[in-house]
């Protein structure tokens, strides 16, 4: 159809032009000639650069690309290698794992939380800020229906959405005729293990490593995207008439009762969780261990104990839970891949050259 119409319009124009030209010709000769303009564009003679592929031009180009890529790759690789990272699985699949019993006897209804402790040793001290992550495997946070199952307006503190959550939250929209806040499957499946880290000094005393729980979420998330329902500074009243997500043990306004700046929807653990991971194996920032003002490393080498309050079941879908300690560089966490990729591609180009 589009062809047809364009064709006819063009033809019509053509004929009009043609005709007026022919008709005018009989006149005084003052008719504009239909001679096409001799412009570079109309004559398709625009100055053009034609990359001529000859051995003389192509091979040096490859060579140069190789020369640029290899150093970048080496730089990236070295940077990544300098990052210190420690990882420990605390799922409790093995029967000799300390968390085995917690994993086994998990029941969402039990009132007494199950705790387990894991010992580990850091071979090397961790300098500067150390980031503490929890890692999940086989957890498909990127499932299409899961990703959709949230209401951004509600999380932004919109009162009408608080009372009337979006349909996207179904089937976690209402509970016993009360609207759920925060609604949806993502919120419902909030990671709720508590991790504590103790440094075991050589004399055997356990020192609690101070964990900072603020600053782990995106600044824009914390301050723009997520807001508590306005109108009342008292969150208990603000969330009145809503129900807690079915899997949660406590309502949203009790996520961090100690810090009103970290409670309700603006709880950073909650915000971090709500940013759905791209891949089924992921880590999420849990706490930050601040660098000490003194010269002592943030985490000196030695023995540590990780105490886990085991609340989050993953065995049903064959998942794994990990705790990760990592320093970071200017280019993020430890990942040698990009360096290797640069070196590989650089080498290929280099050798082709």
């Amino acid at each position: 159809m589009i062809t047809a119409m364009m064709a006819s319009s063009y033809n019509a124009k053509e004929e009009d032009g043609h005709h007026s030209g022919a008709a005018g010709h009989g006149g005084a000769g003052a008719v504009k000639s239909r001679k096409p303009d001799n412009t570079a564009f109309k004559q398709q003679r625009l100055p053009a650069w034609q990359p001529i592929l000859t051995a003389g031009t192509v091979l040096p180009a490859f060579f140069v690309i190789g020369l640029i890529f290899i150093p970048i790759g080496i730089g990236l690789y070295v940077t990544s290698n300098n990052i210190k990272e420690f990882e420990i699985d605390y799922t409790g699949v093995d029967s000799n794992s300390p968390c085995y019993s917690c994993a086994r006897n998990f029941s969402s209804n039990s009132t007494t939380p199950c705790t387990c402790s894991l010992n580990f040793t850091l071979e090397q001290p961790f300098e500067s800020n150390v980031f503490m992550y929890y890692g999940l495997s086989n957890f498909y946070q990127n499932h299409r229906r899961y990703v959709k199952s949230r209401d951004d307006s509600q999380l932004n503190g919109d009162l009408s959405s608080l009372k009337e959550p979006s349909k996207e939250c179904e089937p976690y929209r209402t509970s016993e005729s009360f609207p759920i806040a925060p609604c949806g499957a993502i919120a419902n499946s909030l990671f709720n293990d508590t991790l504590e880290l103790y440094y075991v000094e050589s004399n055997g005393t356990r020192n609690l490593v101070p964990l900072v729980k603020k600053g782990i979420a995106w600044w824009t998330d914390k301050h723009v995207k997520f807001r508590n329902p306005s109108g009342n500074s008292n969150l208990t009243i603000a969330f009145q008439g809503t129900s807690k997500p079915v899997n949660w043990r406590k309502p949203v306004f009790e996520l961090d009762p100690l810090d009103s700046e970290n409670n309700g929807f603006i709880n950073e653990d909650f915000i971090v969780w709500m940013r759905t991971a791209a891949l089924p194996t992921f880590r999420k920032l849990y706490r930050i261990i601040q660098k000490k003002p003194s010269t002592t490393p943030t985490l000196p080498s030695g023995r540590y104990i990780l105490t886990v309050t085991y609340n989050y079941p993953v065995l049903s879908f064959d998942g794994r839970k990990r705790m990760i300690l990592s320093t970071i560089s200017w280019m993020g966490g430890k990942n040698p891949f990009l360096g290797i990729a640069y070196i590989t591609v650089g080498s290929i180009c280099f050798f082709l050259g």
Binding site: R34, P36, E168, A278, F337, V345
Partner: protein, 1289 residues
């Protein structure tokens, strides 16, 4: 006029649609009146009570060519758009999004692209419809004069108010508002001249006659006295036919012809005033019924593309199926333990894995829909429009002489120009100028060679070529002849014209004038001139002494008859088109001549209408008495014709039904008339009833024109029946092709029989000689009828004329009866020069691998000669002639073809050096179903094929045969009406806008000013269009596949849940916005090879012929490459972000960016020439993406669920990792393709070098010794013609 034309064009497809509707309505209303239409005059009925008018059922003159009304626009336009399958598909997918269980995107957003595409088209349609509406309105509100019963005078009304049965008064230069039957004209001869340029493009004037019953009216036509009823055909679209009769009150019936009908859209010329009655109005006029919309063809490339679109659908389904199965299995592995992330359906029901898989299948179709490129079709349209624009603007395809350039009439087959394999060309007017120049003649067996004339022409030619060098713009010769209106208006006499042109100082005009004189000026042969003078002086002497002319020697008699025949046996009209003819010039002799004229009109009623009339007029007494007075009076009264120029002869030619040869004949006629003028035998005036000729010594003689038996392609001759003013004999002059004339010549039984036989024999020899020289031959013959014979013939002829049924056939038979036992006068040889650059064009098209067949109506010798001249045949070639006339030919042909086919089996025998010449009669056998395969086998093995004496039908059959049987791309090129069928049958039809009207152009897809432009059109533009479009289509497939595959790979990491890491906005607008412009620029501007190289190396054209730019495997190569690239673009970010805290869309955005970079760089790798526009478009795309992304990511923190990419890109831009990814990924993705491209081009560069070398060394090929045999094998065949030109995937 422009308006009128615009309206016609605009009607487009609707004209055809609405007209049948009108007809249908009529049919319903008036079932009783099924075959004819009866028209009564409206003024007989009170206009206030329109109900009673018998004409009320006929369509009024209001035209409406718009498609839509305000109300119907939306539904109708949508309905029309949904005829394109792709649109239905996309709407279906968009609607699928509204189903909650399967929806993948925000439903409203998913509608966006399809709504966008639909609305762009709708807005364009609306705009066009509005234009149509405006032009309709303008036309409907034009004024015309209609007789009003109430006011008893003509009043001005709008066109749209005009109704069938109204009397309209038309003034000079007015456009006809409807189809009008001419009832009265101010012209002294009751003629009305019209210009039909808007209907058929012919600019010459045509005469229309007042209906015979109203012919005798000496005073003005009074509508109030009109009481007749007209019965005529139902409206039809045949411009050349109008049948009917007018029934007078007294019951007398008069036949009506097409000569009485003035068609809507024509312009009245030369006639001060005319009155007519409206017969057909509005949409029922012939002009409106004739409006066919532009032609639509599917190009080969598009057909190929559609196959691949189909493959894309298959790939899409496979991908969806795979994902669906994957999802089912993924669900199944969890069994009853439903993990937290596997959210229940909104209703809270637990779906079984199988149901989930089925729903997911539909979801995936939505997600992967991009694989079928929604913008592909629109992009192709846009690129083609641009290509047409460039072709149109090419200076080298513009001819300054006629101010005409190439017209693309079909817009969607530009790329077919690059894939042609066979060219079928007409000869006359296509290969040749179709500007006939009289060269030689033979009269009464004596040849007059006109050497001086030949020398003069040769001289002109030299001057021409020098001039052209000065002008330094490619070989162009003017194509404008004296027949066009403006030249004939200005160039009154040749000598004057040259002077006036010098005064204007316009070089082109002066040149045109000199060219004009070249063709009109003939240096007479002194010997013949002497004889003419001698003869006419003798005749003059005899006339004054009342001696019988029979005492004149038959030689001399033949000579004068010969020239008289040349002058009058034609349809040449003498007129000065742009002014109305004066009724009578009242100079000194004015009054006298006026009186004589009045007498004349009464005396010379003609053609003879009834037997009584005939007897009355041809009684001897009257003949003697009236003769002198009439001729002398005309001598004086005809001075109005003296200052006018001979105008186009093709007056009726294009309007006759069987006009194939006729139009081709018209320039011949002009040439002959000019030739006769050189011998002082000039045509000074032509009226329907008489022809006035000025002869030396004798002065002006008026020949009473009794009948004109027009030309038709079956008879191949035309005749005039005149009463000779000197002898009073009824004489038939016949002019026609030698083959037919020679058959009907019969030497008289008297004593001169032997001499006559000798003359015939010698004439035949000369004819053969002329033909061998490539001249067009015509025979001139005459016949003297006795009164009795004439009376006998006339009686039957009149019956034929008045017959309503089968009139054409009866008239044809009648003509055959008359044209017998002719007396041969002589023969003429007319030269039709080759157009400039034809041999070179043919040679280079040949090199380009095109097979060129010439299909002509000319005789074999002429055709063969032209073929030699334009290097189509080579003397060293063996010729294989097929010419036979009887049934035995069939056997002969079979045997020969079998032999040839056998020869084909031996590759050592280079049969492709053969030339096949086949004539029409043999062709008829060859096209027989049983033989066509063999014929094709032979023809294929021949280097050139020449079909002569072929009819238009045969031409089209040959084209169809080759096209269908060999499955090749065919191009037909021609200039005349006889080529129309061939042009329509071929894949691409090219019309030469030349001498013979516009039919060929109207039927064509492309119209060229001259043949040699075909070279650039095909070799350069064709190649470019093809390669650009082919590459663009491949790129489109690649682009979409690559983009969609990214999501496909992701399904392995999201439990096959149909999740996409690319934000839905990017996903939907990626094709439409971010990556749309560069490919359009490249598709429009890229040049794989420069124009110079393409013209220099026609071999490069073969890449298009063999579809090397777009072969099926290339689609798959592209697909594989797309999948590879998407793997790279997916997995580099995957590993770079593996086991990190990255969220879905922070990870997806770099992938989108990388994909965009990769796609653009891929285009860059494929782009051969980089202009600033390429750079600009790529920069624009990148900038657009980032601008949109930044705005989008900053606009709303709570919207765009589910991705909600608030501040994502902003954070990414602060992340060094993002930049490192954007560098490495496109590089590694494009590595294989650039390596293969480099390797390929390196090898090609070597080959190109090789080609260059060969071209240089072959510039001057060694002339081979000529052998007339199959065995003669000169090594001129191009050694690298199998060479594959640069090709890409």
């Amino acid at each position: 006029m422009a308006r009128e034309r615009g309206e016609e064009e605009d009607t487009g497809g609707t004209g055809g649609k609405s007209a049948p509707k009108v007809k249908q309505r009529q049919r319903k209303k008036k079932t009783k009146e099924s075959k004819t239409r009866t028209v009564h005059a409206n003024i007989l009925y009170d206009s206030a009570k329109g109900e009673e008018s018998p004409n009320r059922h006929y369509a009024n003159n209001k035209i409406k060519t718009t498609k839509y009304t305000l109300l119907s626009f939306l539904p109708k336009n949508l309905f029309e758009q949904f005829h394109r399958f792709a649109n239905v598909y996309f709407v279906f997918i968009a609607l699928l999004n509204f189903v909650p269980v399967v929806n993948a995107f925000q439903p409203e957003l998913a509608l966006a692209p399809v709504v966008f595409i639909l609305s762009v088209t709708a807005i364009k349609d609306l705009w066009e419809d509005y234009r149509r509406h405006r032009s309709d309105k303008e036309i409907n509100h034009m004024d015309c004069l209609v007789y009003s019963r109430a006011e008893r005078r003509y009043v001005e009304i709008y066109w749209k108010e005009l109704r069938v049965g109204d009397f309209v008064r038309l003034r000079c230069n007015e456009i006809l508002p409807a189809d009008v039957l001419l009832l009265s004209s101010s012209d002294p001869d009751r003629l009305c001249h019209i210009e039909t340029a808007t209907l058929d493009g012919e600019t010459n004037l045509k005469q229309r006659q007042v209906v015979r019953s109203f012919y005798d009216l000496d005073c003005d036509f009074n509508p109030l006295k009109y009481t007749s009823v007209i019965e005529c055909e139902k409206p039809n679209n045949d411009l050349n036919r109008f049948r009917g009769y007018i029934i007078h009150r007294n019951g007398r019936r008069d036949a009506l012809y097409k000569d009485n009908l003035l068609l809507r859209g024509c312009t009245i010329r030369n006639t001060e005033e005319a009155v007519g009655i409206v017969i057909y109005a509005g949409h029922e006029t012939k002009a409106m019924l004739n409006n066919n919309g532009p032609r639509y063809k599917r190009s080969k490339l598009e057909r190929q593309m559609n196959v691949d679109v189909f493959w894309c659908v298959i790939i899409l389904l496979i991908m969806c199926l795979f994902t669906a199965v994957g999802h089912g299995l993924w669900m199944f592995q969890y069994g009853d333990k439903r993990p937290v992330f596997d959210v229940l359906s909104p209703e809270g029901t637990d779906l079984s894995p199988i149901m989930s898989a089925i729903y997911l299948f539909l979801t995936m179709i939505i997600v992967f829909q991009v694989l079928i490129p929604i913008s592909l079709f629109v992009s192709i349209e846009i690129v083609k429009i641009c290509q047409v624009y460039f072709i149109h603007n090419d200076l080298e395809l513009y001819e300054e002489e006629t101010d005409s350039h190439l017209q693309c009439r079909a817009l969607n087959i530009t790329e077919d120009l690059g894939q042609m394999q066979y060219i079928f060309s007409d000869k006359t007017g296509t290969l040749t100028e179709n500007k006939m120049v009289f060269r030689r003649c033979t009269v009464a067996g004596v040849e007059y060679s006109h050497d001086a004339n030949a020398r003069r022409l040769a001289m002109y030619q030299e001057v021409d070529s020098e001039e052209e060098e000065c002008v330094s713009h490619g070989g162009t010769l003017p194509r404008r002849d004296s027949v066009t209106s403006h030249t004939s208006a200005r160039v009154v006499l040749r000598s004057q014209s040259t002077k006036s042109h010098r005064r204007t100082g316009s070089r082109a005009e002066a040149k045109r004038a000199s060219i004009l004189s070249k063709h009109t000026d003939i240096t007479p042969d002194p010997q013949l001139l002497d004889k003419v003078n001698e003869c006419s002086s003798k005749m003059d002497f005899m006339r004054f002494h009342s001696q019988s002319l029979s005492t004149l020697s038959s030689d001399l008699c033949d000579i004068i008859d010969f020239f008289v025949a040349l002058t009058i046996c034609n349809t040449v009209v003498v007129s000065s088109p742009n002014q109305p003819r004066q009724k009578v010039t009242l100079d000194k002799a004015g009054m006298v001549s006026f009186l004589h004229r009045v007498i004349n009109i009464f005396e010379l009623k003609s053609p003879v209408k009834t037997i009584e009339d005939f007897i009355k007029r041809f009684t001897p007494s009257r003949l003697t008495s009236s003769n002198n007075s009439s001729s002398s009076s005309l001598n004086r009264s005809n001075n109005r014709g003296c200052s006018s120029l001979i105008s186009s002869p093709s007056a009726d030619s294009t309007l006759t039904k069987l006009d194939e040869e006729k139009t081709a004949e018209s320039p011949d006629e002009a040439a002959l008339v000019y030739a006769a003028r050189a011998y002082k035998c000039s045509l000074v005036g032509r009226l329907p009833d008489q022809v006035t000729v000025e002869l030396p010594h004798l002065g002006k003689l008026s020949f009473e024109l009794l009948h004109t038996l027009g030309f038709d392609s079956t008879r191949k001759r035309m005749s005039v029946v005149v009463r000779h003013p000197l002898t009073d004999q009824i004489t038939v002059y016949t002019k026609g092709a030698d083959s037919v004339i020679m058959d009907i010549i019969r030497p008289p039984d008297t004593g001169t029989r032997k001499r006559q036989k000798k003359i015939i024999c010698r004439t035949q020899n000369y004819l053969n000689q002329y033909a061998a020289d490539g001249l067009r031959t015509l025979c001139i013959a005459k016949k003297v009828l006795s009164k009795e014979e004439y009376a006998c013939w006339l009686q039957r002829h009149l019956q034929a004329e008045t017959a309503i049924q089968g009139r054409e056939e009866l008239l044809f038979e009648s003509a055959l009866r008359l044209e017998t036992n002719l007396h041969l006068l002589g023969a003429t040889g007319i030269e039709d020069r080759l157009q400039d650059g034809v041999p070179e064009t043919i040679a280079s098209l040949r090199k380009a691998g095109l097979q060129i067949w010439v299909l002509t109506g000319d005789k074999q010798e002429t055709a063969v000669n032209i073929a030699y001249a334009c290097k189509l045949l080579h003397y060293i070639q063996a010729k294989f002639l097929c010419s036979s006339s009887d049934q035995a030919a069939k056997m002969y042909l079979t045997n020969n073809i079998n032999n040839m086919a056998a020869a084909d089996l031996y590759p050592s025998l280079p049969v492709h050096r053969l030339g096949l010449v086949i004539d029409g009669r043999t062709l008829a056998y060859a096209l027989d179903r049983s033989l066509e395969d063999k014929f094709l086998a032979v023809a294929r093995s021949c280097r050139s094929v020449l079909c002569c004496r072929s009819t238009p039908l045969q031409k089209s059959m040959v084209v169809k045969l080759v096209r269908n049987k060999l499955k090749v791309m065919t191009l037909a090129i021609g200039d005349g009406a006889n080529d129309v069928s061939m042009i329509q049958v071929a894949d691409v039809g090219v019309g030469i806008s030349g001498q013979e009207g516009m039919q060929a152009v109207m039927a064509s897809d492309f119209a060229l000013p001259r043949f040699s432009y075909l070279q650039k059109l095909l070799l350069v533009h064709g190649h470019w269009c093809y390669s650009r479009l082919a590459n663009m289509i491949l790129y489109f497939f690649y682009k979409n596949a690559m983009f969609v595959a990214l999501i496909f790979w992701y399904q392995f990491y999201c439990g096959f849940s149909g999740s996409a890491m690319i934000d839905q906005w990017y996903l939907i607008f990626f094709n439409l916005m971010f990556s749309a412009f560069p490919q359009l620029i490249t598709g429009t501007l890229d040049k794989d090879v420069s124009a110079e190289t393409l013209q220099h190396l026609p071999q490069l054209y073969r890449s298009g012929q063999n579809s090397e730019e777009y072969k099926p495997y290339m689609f798959w190569m592209n697909m594989i490459d797309a999948f590879y690239q998407s793997l790279v673009c997916f997995f580099i970010p995957y590993f770079a972000y593996a086991d990190s805290g990255v969220d879905l869309f922070t990870w997806g955005t770099p992938i989108t960016t990388i994909a965009l970079f990769t796609i653009l760089l891929h285009l860059g790798v494929e782009t051969k020439t980089w202009t600033w526009m390429n750079w600009l478009s790529i920069c624009f795309s990148v900038a657009l993406f980032f601008t949109v992304a930044l705005c989008y990511n900053a606009s709303c923190p709570t919207c765009y669920s589910p991705s909600n990419p608030y501040w994502t890109i902003q954070r990414l831009l602060q992340d060094p990792l993002f930049y490192f990814l954007c560098i490495i990924t496109p590089c590694s993705a494009l590595l294989p393709r650039s390596i293969t491209n480099v390797v390929h081009s390196l090898s090609i560069a070597r080959v190109n070098h090789f080609i260059d070398f060969i071209v240089v060394s072959k510039e001057h090929p060694q002339p081979e010794p000529g052998h007339h045999g199959v065995a003669a094998q000169p090594a001129t065949s191009f050694p690298v013609h199998q060479q594959a030109p640069p090709k890409r995937q």
